[in-house]
Structure formats: structure tokens, C-alpha cells
Amino acid sequence: MNFKLKDIIPQLITVLAVIFIFGFFTYNAQINMENRGIDFGYGFLSQESSFDVQFSLIEYDGSHSYFRAYLVGLLNTILVSIIGIIIATILGVIVGVARLSPNYLINKFAAFYVEFFRNIPLLLQIFFWYFAALRALPLPQDAEAIFGVFFLTIKGLYVPAFIWQNLSIFLYSLIAAVLAIIVIKVQAKKVQEKQGKQIPVFYISLGLLFILPLLSFFIGGVSLSFEVPALKQLATTSFIYEGGVSLPPELIALTLSLSLYTATFIAECVRAGIQGVGKGQKEAAASIGLTPNQVLKLVIMPQALRIIIPPTTNQYLNLTKNSSLAAAIAYPDLVLVFAGTALMQTGKAIEIVSITMFTYLTLSISISILMNWYNKRIAIQEK
């Protein structure tokens, strides 16, 4: 009996303390809201928001609801995260591999990059790009075209828009190509296991990926044209580009700093992963007669990826969470649109902050569950 009591009491006290703290907060919140005449509830989400957002992926203006404003913010957050993740991964892998290069100059250059960008606060980098670097760009009327179609100005980057005809047929052809590649890959594996013959899957897939969409242009009636942005005069000194797609400077500054900053961490993950594969593995693989490419593809990479992927996913999550710094330079992300403007208008602090936090929480927890599952699947089964 005594033994059991010793087990129960600490837990009981902890739980009571937690309940007490939460109860205290809730009680106070109720009293405070009563005093200030605020009511609690999520009904405001369907009300008309009556504020405007300058950059939005979906149709939005003041007449839409607060829930739609939330969606606009969420989509903008996801947009900047995805672009950032793609750039950061490419840059991070290149720098990580460069840090292992036997070439002294390349090695030091990569190390310099990592040490430099990693030790400066991200917020400072965002401010630097947005307020100092991008402000030095030319006005729209003075901008010179890059390759004749891109215009980098103080008001943002203008790129040509794609105008598709029969886009669906093109997409179908792409899907068909991917399906064909999967079938070929499975077949190639069977052939190799049965007859020991190797089929050059890589070149075949590359060919398929080119030829099928190309065919869709000639046979399927797909056509692609570009709408190049053109300068338009609004007033004597005010110019603007029309047509094409415009990326606001906030988005550029944010993706640039996020990806430069996160790439340093990804580079370190990649380096650790490749270094983590024992030298003996490479030598053993070479000694059974694999070519250098095969060694990399069949022996090094599978083992290195096992080390690289979990911390890299963590960095992706960090990037997504760091994208909330967008609020500092007025890029309309979830925090700025919802926890900023919407909160100011409605005054529903508890509801809005909790929704915002819950959104980020869902995002990270779902990714970490996915990661745990992946880790379990690829873990080396020992003993």
C-alpha cells in the first residue's frame, strides 16, 4: 500500500498543479472578458472582414469573411515555405557537398558561407534584404530587362506569365509519362533479378519525360505562349508593369533570407550524413566491383539519406515556422493577416491567437508523426 502511495502522490500533485494553473487562467479570463464586455466564440469567422490584403493567391477583398482572410494568410505562408524549402534544399546540398570537397578553395568558400549566414539573426537578414538591398533596385521605368523578359525593380520582380491552351492534355501526358516510368522501373527490377540484365532506366525515363509532353504539343493541340510584362505610364512619374506575374519585394526578401539562412543548416546536415557513412562501406562496395556511380547510388546515398533526412525535415519545419517573421516586413502571411489585422479589428485575442498557434501546431505535429513513421521504417534492424 505504502509503495503504491509513493507512486501516486507525485503524479497527483503534478496533475493538480496543472489543473490549478489552467483553472486559474480560465477563471481570470472569464472575469476579465466579462468586465470588458467581450464574449467568447468563433462566430466572427463568418463575418465580413472589410480589410484588404495586397498579395493573395485566391480571390479576396474586404467583402469576404474572416475565415477567407485566414485562408489567404495560410496559403501565403505555405507559398513562401515551399519556395524557401526548394531553394534551401538545392543550395544546402550543393554547399554541404562542397564542404567535403578535396579542393581547398571550394571547401573554405563553403565553410565561409555557412559560418557567415548561420551566425546572423534571421530577422536582421530579412531587414537587410528588404530595407537595404532591395531598396537599391531601380524604379520600374529605369529597370533593365534580364534576358528580355524579367524585370527586377524596386516594386518587385516581374516575370512572364504562361498562357496555356488545352493545359489538361499536357498534364495528362505528364501523368502518363510518370506512370510509364514506374511500370518500366518495376519491369527492369524483375528483369534484373531474373536474368541479371540491367536496363538503362534513367535514360529511358528522361526520354519519356521529354517525349510524351512534346508529343502533346504536336498532336494534342497544346500551345504555350508567354505574356511579357510591359511598362505602362500611370502619371508623369509613376510607372507600372502590366501583364505577367509580379512577385512583391516582401516575398523576394523573405524567400531569399529564409533560404540562405536555412541552407546553412541543411548543408551541415548533408555534410554530417555523408561523413557518417563509414569509409569501409565505400571501400567494400568498390572491392566487389561496383562502379563509382553505383557505389554512390546503391551504397553511400541510401545510408547517408537515413542520417540526413530527419534533421533536414526539422529544418523544413523551422523554415515554415520562421516564415512567420514575415510580419516584420508586412508580407501578408498567417501571422500578419490573421493574428495582426484581424485581431486588431475584432479584438478576439484568445480565439485568434489560439487558432494561429493551433494551425502551426497541426502542421508541425503532423510532419513529426510522419517523420517518426519514416524513421521507424528505414531504421537499421539491429539484433
Binding site: D7, P10, Q11, I13, T14, V15, V18, F24, F25, T26, N28, A29, I31, N32, M33, N35, S101, P102, N103, Y104, L105, I106, F109, E115, F116, R118, N119, I120, P121, L122, L123, L124, Q125, F127, F128, F131, A132, A133, R135, A136, K321, N322, S324, L325, A327, A328, V335, A339, L343, A349, I350, V353, T356, M357, Y360, L361, L363, S364, I365, S368
Partner: protein
């Protein structure tokens, strides 16, 4: 003399290749150098495209000629091994050399040659270089925020005193070494707190908060003399009881004047700022997040399921949300959760929020260290008859913490780099002050100088921290 094959340099014609290759390489470097430093274009007579690519081509051919394996010349072999192993590496090396040569003159002229240092108004900054005058004029704001000029000696004095007190560990003799942990964990933070409470603030700013600190430290000190059997219950009850006694029975309202020293003016926390605020926040968050994180790391590995679930919930919650929303919460949502007459200063709320946030990360790092320890350590400690706390304090934690020094250093670095985010609650540390100074109508257009200045300061702090942690790691490395 054998036949010369230019495609495949070999050892038999060593000197020919060496002179030819070095000459070409030298020419290519010289061309870029003259072009970048003196704006001379040696190859201007050629078509534009060719003149642009010529140094690269010449350098590439030169490097190709001197790529002779086992030449017998030490330096040449070293050069080949390091920057010239194959064609691809040669081109990359050349490109990097060119980029470095090209980027030196503009950087040099912006930073030093064309920059203006003298004067104290915007008029001197007409050149194309940096305007360091701007930094010079605003330096007090960047360092101390809105803290009154006449009172800034208080911050300086406190920081110098704390630095001296912090370096005590270097001079301690072996006799006093065992008390160092107690000193750094309990006494030093208390002194630092008193300095900031009485001296930098000079007012009743931290008051509500200070009861908790005093209670916690008193109870820790008494806690050393409590038999370990009752320690758990002691730490559950006594700190809270002490806090209540201090708040409601001992320190009455009239004692609120306690915070004021004679002759010192009260400076509100709203006026604090600049780099000194970065230091204050980082320091306190660092001190608070470590024990909290350790507690939750132990909680997550505890055998009691309820405690474990609560710890997991805490850690995953803070790790899942961005810091900016946590600060939002501390600014707009947290006051709603407190009684109407209960006042917590903005800075204190900020410190609590950042500490809890970073504590979750610290907890995960420490948990990694705990998991890495072999079971044998636990079993050996238990077989000696040690209880839970004794086992952890004397056997497990010292080894686990040693293992996770790099991880903890990374978390602390992240903490320092996160401090600028406090602009969300309206506190302006150095980056916030820069943004404020940038909008001053008298000093428009010097954003770049300010950000570069802050970046250099942060870089030095963070780089020094990471190097120090590396040294620490090497020092405590034990073979396992």
C-alpha cells in the same frame, strides 16, 4: 628531350610545362587583378565576349599544364592536390579566385576608402561609401536604447561588475572548485538579478516577479540541507509557501519602495533597449530555460505516466509554434489570463515567454543525452543504493550534459539570435533601434550601414559562442 604532348603533361618535360603553365596562370590572374583594382582592360582589343572569358581560358590551360602528378616539387604537388585535382576543380578554383579578387575593391572602398568617419551630421556623408558617422552619432541609442544618457554608467558598471564576477571560475583554486557549480547556478544569477533589479532599473519594476526569485533561491539553498527522502515533497511545497509568505505577509505595500536606491532615478523597462537589452534578455532566458528544460527532460523519461504525458504535451506544444506567436500570446492574450490588478512588466513577460519556448528545445537536447547513456550507468547507480535524485545529480546528468554540450550551445545561439523578435511586444533591442533610427527624417537612407553594423556585432557574439562551445566540448570529452 622527348616529344611534347600538350594534352597530357608529363614529368619528362617538367620545366617546359611548369614555366608555360605558371606564365599563363599568372597572366590570367594579372588580367583580372588589373581590371578590378585599376580598371584597366588588357584584353580590350578583343571582342567583348572573348575578352570576358579570356582569363578563365588562359588560367584553365595554365592549370592544365602544371597538373603533373608526382613532379617531385613539393609546392607544386601541394598546389595540385589542393586546388587542381582535375579540370572541373581547376575551373571552380579559378572562378573562386576571380570572385575574391573582383569583390575586394568595391568592398574595400565601401567600408573604408570612400566611407566617412568624421563629423556629426548627415552632410559629411556625400560619398559613395558607407556613412559610419551615422553609427557614431547613434551609437548610444544602439547600445542603450532610450536609457537616459546621464544614467548609462549604471549599465556599464553593472556589466563590468558582472563580467568580473563571472570570470571568478578561472581564478578559483582547487579548494573552491567544488563550490563553483553552486556559485554559477544559484549565487551568480542572484547577484545579476539584484544588479538589474536595483541598479539598472532603480525602481519597483521587477517587484512582483522578485518574490518568486527570492523564494526559489532561498528554497534551493535550504534544500541542500534537507534529507533526500523528503526532498521531492520539500520542493513541491516550500517554494510556493515561501512565495506566498513573502508576497502577502512579509513585504507589505510600503516596502515597494525597496526597489529604489537613494539617488538613483527609476528607469522604466520601456526605455531599455539596444544591445544591452539583448544581453539582459539572453542572460536571463539562458538561466531560466536551462533548469526548466532539464526538469521537462527528466519528466519525459519519468516512470510516472501522467508526468510523462504532461511533459510531452509541454515540449511538443512549444516546439510546434513559432516564437513570434508565443510573443504575441504574451503580449495580447496573457494579460487576459491574470487577475485585473496583477501587473507583470512587459520585459518580464517577454523573458518568461522566451524562456518557456527555449526550455522545450533544451529539454529535447538533454533528453537526447539521457537516451545516449547506456543502461549500465543507471543500473550501477541503483545498485549502489542511490535514489532517483541522487542518481541523476551525481551519475546521470553530469555524463548526459557532457554529451550534449554542442546541442545546448546551438540552442543558446538560437536564443541569442531570436532576441530581436521582441519587437513584437514593442521592446526595441539593437535591430529594433536600427529600424527606429532608419525612419528618423534627419538620417534617411542609411539602412545599409546600420544593418551591416548590427550584423557584425551579432556575428562576433555568435561566432565566439560557437567557438567557446567547441572548446568546452573538447575539454570535457572523455573516451567512452
Amino acid at each position: 628531350m622527348s616529344k611534347i604532348n600538350f594534352l597530357k603533361p608529363d614529368k619528362s618535360n617538367l620545366s617546359t610545362y611548369l614555366y608555360l603553365g605558371s606564365f599563363l596562370f599568372f597572366i590570367s590572374i594579372l588580367d583580372v587583378f588589373l581590371n578590378s583594382f585599376f580598371n584597366l582592360n588588357l584584353t580590350g582589343f578583343l571582342p567583348n565576349f572573348l575578352s570576358f572569358l579570356l582569363p578563365l581560358i588562359l588560367g584553365f590551360i595554365g592549370l592544365h599544364f602544371i597538373r603533373i602528378e608526382y613532379s617531385g616539387i613539393n609546392k607544386l604537388d601541394l598546389l595540385n592536390k589542393h586546388i587542381n585535382t582535375n579540370n572541373f576543380n581547376a575551373i571552380l578554383s579559378l572562378l573562386i579566385i576571380f570572385v575574391i579578387i573582383k569583390s575586394i575593391p568595391p568592398l574595400l572602398s565601401w567600408f573604408i576608402i570612400d566611407a566617412s568617419f568624421a563629423g556629426d551630421s548627415k552632410d559629411v556623408c556625400s560619398g559613395s561609401g558607407a556613412c559610419w558617422t551615422y553609427i557614431k552619432v547613434w551609437i548610444r541609442r544602439f547600445m542603450y536604447g532610450m536609457y537616459p544618457n546621464a544614467e548609462q554608467w549604471r549599465i556599464n558598471l553593472s556589466f563590468i561588475a558582472l563580467m568580473l564576477l563571472g570570470s571568478v571560475g578561472y581564478f578559483a583554486t582547487d579548494k573552491f572548485k567544488k563550490y563553483l557549480t553552486l556559485y554559477y547556478v544559484v549565487i551568480y544569477p542572484l547577484i545579476a538579478f539584484l544588479f538589474i533589479f536595483f541598479f539598472i532599473s532603480g525602481g519597483p519594476v521587477f517587484f512582483d516577479f522578485s518574490y518568486g526569485i527570492i523564494a526559489a533561491i532561498l528554497s534551493i539553498i535550504i534544500g541542500f540541507f534537507i534529507p533526500s527522502k523528503f526532498k521531492f515533497y520539500y520542493f513541491l511545497i516550500v517554494p510556493l509557501a515561501l512565495y506566498i509568505i513573502l508576497k502577502y505577509f512579509l513585504f507589505f505595500e510600503e516596502y515597494i519602495e525597496l526597489g529604489k536606491l537613494d539617488g538613483l532615478n527609476w528607469v522604466e523597462t520601456g526605455a531599455w533597449g539596444g544591445l544591452s537589452l539583448t544581453f539582459i534578455i539572453s542572460f536571463f532566458c539562458l538561466i531560466f530555460c536551462f533548469p526548466i528544460g532539464m526538469a521537462f527532460a527528466l519528466g519525459r523519461r519519468s516512470g510516472f505516466p501522467l508526468i510523462r504525458y504532461i511533459s510531452i504535451g509541454f515540449i511538443e506544444f512549444w516546439r510546434g509554434v513559432p516564437l513570434i506567436t508565443v510573443l504575441f500570446m504574451s503580449a495580447v492574450m496573457f494579460p487576459m489570463f491574470l487577475p485585473a490588478d496583477f501587473f507583470i512588466d512587459k520585459l518580464v513577460r517577454c523573458i518568461i515567454a522566451i524562456s518557456l519556448f527555449e526550455a522545450a528545445y533544451v529539454a529535447e537536447v538533454i533528453r537526447g543525452g539521457l537516451q545516449a547513456l547506456p543502461r549500465g550507468q543507471y543500473e550501477a547507480a541503483k545498485s549502489l543504493g542511490m535514489g532517483y535524485w541522487r542518481m541523476h545529480i551525481f551519475v546521470i546528468l553530469p555524463q548526459a550534459l557532457k554529451l550534449v554540450i554542442p546541442g545546448i550551445a546551438n540552442t543558446f545561439l538560437a536564443l541569442v539570435k531570436d532576441t530581436p523578435l521582441i519587437f513584437v511586444v514593442g521592446l526595441l533591442e539593437i535591430v529594433g533601434m536600427l529600424n527606429l533610427a532608419k525612419t528618423n527624417p534627419k538620417w534617411l537612407g542609411f539602412a545599409m550601414e546600420g544593418y551591416v553594423f548590427a550584423a557584425i556585432i551579432f556575428w562576433i557574439i555568435c561566432y565566439a559562442m560557437s567557438k567557446y562551445s567547441y572548446n568546452l566540448e573538447q575539454k570535457y570529452k572523455t573516451d567512452r
